[in-house]
């Protein structure tokens, strides 16, 4: 029984460090998904709901390469990331590119993306069954103690990788020609076409990079807990919610939103119950859409 003294709620101090650790880890994973999602949203300008399933593509690729084909786990990871990127790239080529050429409305894109999501998810389930699976090997078995909270080695790697990717993405966007082209396309695709930027190529590359990041997120989740065909969907939703909380199309906003969401979820279920996690995140989304639709860092439309 939790005691309540006066109007101060009794807080068991020993859980707090663990909750903080869990929030940060969740935030790191979400921020990977949000980064890729924002990158794609920024250039292609639609909510790519099919994006989430690429996390499952990455996760299952590692599962297949390492377990069925017996590849080294690190080789499998690299192949998994590349495969996720490739699948995203191909989908862009055969579906979204044509829709873009036809100047389809954003709703058409969204419905097509729902189709992509449903199809890929079911194909994965057919190939690997819809059971929850774990990888045959792991990349770290260590656990660390931080101020009374436990963090596993896998989670540390996830955290470090997310931060690395975040920074490299920022550097690429800031200092390379490619990054500047991405920014130009995000700002105004028509004008960038006029000044000679090959927008289609840029968008294709962005899809590859974004999807590869999603694949990595899926792989990290696979090492942390395990994989199932529908995993991408909830990850995607978290990424989308985080992006909207932070400000859609804004990379820093997405990261900020992800960590915020991580904290809200983990501290929310501490008081309510684990099963309500998704409902909590969606309630947060709806509150944000109602009261601050541009997110924390979003520009005024």
């Amino acid at each position: 029984m939790r005691k309540k003294a006066g109007f101060a709620i009794f807080i068991p101090m020993d859980i707090i460090p663990q909750l903080i650790v869990n929030s940060i880890i969740a935030g790191a994973i979400y921020s990977l998904v949000a980064l890729g999602f924002n990158l794609i949203y920024g250039t292609a300008k639609f909510f790519d709901l099919g994006y989430g399933v690429l996390t499952a593509v990455g996760g299952y690729a590692v599962f297949y390469f390492s377990r069925t084909l017996g590849f080294d786990i690190y080789v499998s990871i690299v192949l998994g990331v590349l495969l996720a990127g490739l699948v995203g790239f191909v989908i862009e080529k055969i579906v979204y590119k044509k829709l873009r050429a036809r100047k389809a409305s954003s709703m058409v894109f969204m419905v097509a993306a729902l189709g992509v999501m449903t199809t890929l998810q079911a194909i994965i389930a057919i190939l690997f069954s819809s059971q929850f699976q774990v990888f045959p090997a792991t990349i770290s078995t260590q656990t660390f103690q931080i101020f009374g909270g436990v963090i596993t080695g896998v989670q540390c790697i996830a955290l470090v990788l997310s931060i690395l990717i975040m920074f490299s993405l920022v550097l690429v966007l800031r200092f390379t020609k490619f990054g500047k082209a991405i920014k130009a396309v995000s700002d105004d695709a028509e004008v960038s076409k006029m000044v000679g930027i090959d927008t289609d190529t840029i968008i294709s590359k962005v899809f590859f990079i974004g999807s590869a990041i999603a694949g990595l997120a899926g792989i990290l989740v696979g090492f942390d807990t395990g994989i199932e065909p529908t995993m991408g969907f909830s990850l995607l939703l978290k990424g989308v919610i985080a992006s909207i909380i932070g400000g859609v199309g804004n990379i820093y906003g997405g990261v900020l939103g992800s960590f915020l969401l991580g904290f809200i979820e983990n501290f929310g279920i501490w008081k309510i119950s684990g099963e309500w996690k998704d409902a909590i995140s969606f309630s947060v989304l709806i509150l944000f859409l109602l009261f601050r639709p541009n997110g924390i860092l979003g520009k005024k439309l």
């Binding site: 909510f47 969204m110 189709g115 449903t118 079911a122 819809s130 909207i244 998704d278 639709p293």
Partner: protein, 288 residues
């Protein structure tokens, strides 16, 4: 024979759902991906009222409609603050929230175990436990819903809905309170979906949360997009196609769990191909 009756009942239930969603998506242009939530609320209302209180099935339909009406009014009001993509995303969110309520409010819904033993309807001594008689009930209700939809969409009210879909700002300038129209049709659509839910619960005699997940909303959306938006005949045609098509897959001889996934693949591909080559569907009068 039993098998064909079963398929016909499913077609009837999905026609009702498709007609209800078509009012919202097709005629009013609100891309709502939450219809399965209202379908589920109707189903659970009937399930709980019949198993716990032994209420009459037809009364439970009415109670379900009232509950769905109130909830959809609240949900629709929140959603009315958004437009375009954000509307779709928000509606998505409500489906997830309602689904997790079905899943986690265990004292009411028994969570993932579901509610078994829902009785078949009885009215004035007429027992609907024979599937053929149940089919007649479904057909009567589906035809009723069809004519109600026709009536709504051909009335002056329906013309305002189409005007909102084409240009909401312009119709506002003419002094129409578009919020009222959007909310009304959202609630009507939700209440009709609730009827389908009650029928489903009583027919299958068992409900569990998975029948009302987001994928079900996407399925209903696929039906009306295939049949054609803003066309009531299209909604029924879509329901016929998408209920029969996966049955064909069953005869090809896939094991049942793979057949279920093949269905998903089919819906997904249909959505993609339609968006690429025929966004207005088979009989559609409106393109997304």
């Amino acid at each position: 024979m039993d098998y064909f009756v079963h398929i016909a009942i499913l077609i009837g239930i999905y026609s009702i759902l498709a007609l209800s969603l078509n009012l919202i998506v097709g005629y009013t242009g609100l891309l709502s991906i939450t219809q399965a939530a209202f379908y589920g609320i109707g189903a659970y209302t009937t399930a709980i009222l019949l198993t716990a209180f032994g209420m009459n099935f037809f009364l439970s339909i009415v109670v379900g409609m009232i509950i769905t009406g109130i909830l959809s009014l609240a949900i629709g009001y929140v959603l009315s603050k958004f437009d375009g993509d954000y509307f779709a995303l928000g509606s998505f969110g409500f489906n997830i929230i309602v689904y997790s309520i079905f899943l986690n409010w265990q004292s009411l819904t028994r969570g993932p175990l579901g509610i078994p033993g829902i009785s078949k309807p009885v009215l004035f001594g007429l027992d609907f436990s024979d599937n053929l008689i149940f089919l007649i009930l479904v057909i009567v209700l589906a035809v009723g819903v069809y004519f109600i939809s026709q009536f709504i969409t051909r009335s002056s009210f329906g013309r305002v809905l189409k005007a909102i879909r084409e240009d909401e700002k312009a119709i506002k300038v003419f002094g129409y309170n578009t919020l009222f129209f959007k909310l009304t049709i959202f609630v009507i659509g939700a209440m009709i979906a609730s009827v389908a839910g009650s029928l489903f619960a009583s027919y299958i005699t068992y409900v569990d949360p998975t029948s009302f997940a987001l994928s079900e909303s996407i399925f209903i959306l696929a039906i009306i997009i295939l049949g054609g938006l803003a066309n009531n005949k299209g909604a029924v045609l879509g329901a016929i196609c998408l209920v029969i098509l996966p049955e064909a897959l069953r005869f090809v001889g896939f094991p049942s769990d793979i057949a279920a996934q093949m269905r998903q693949v089919t819906y997904g591909l249909i959505l993609i191909v339609l968006m690429l080559y025929r966004p207005q569907g088979l009989l559609g009068e409106y393109k997304l």
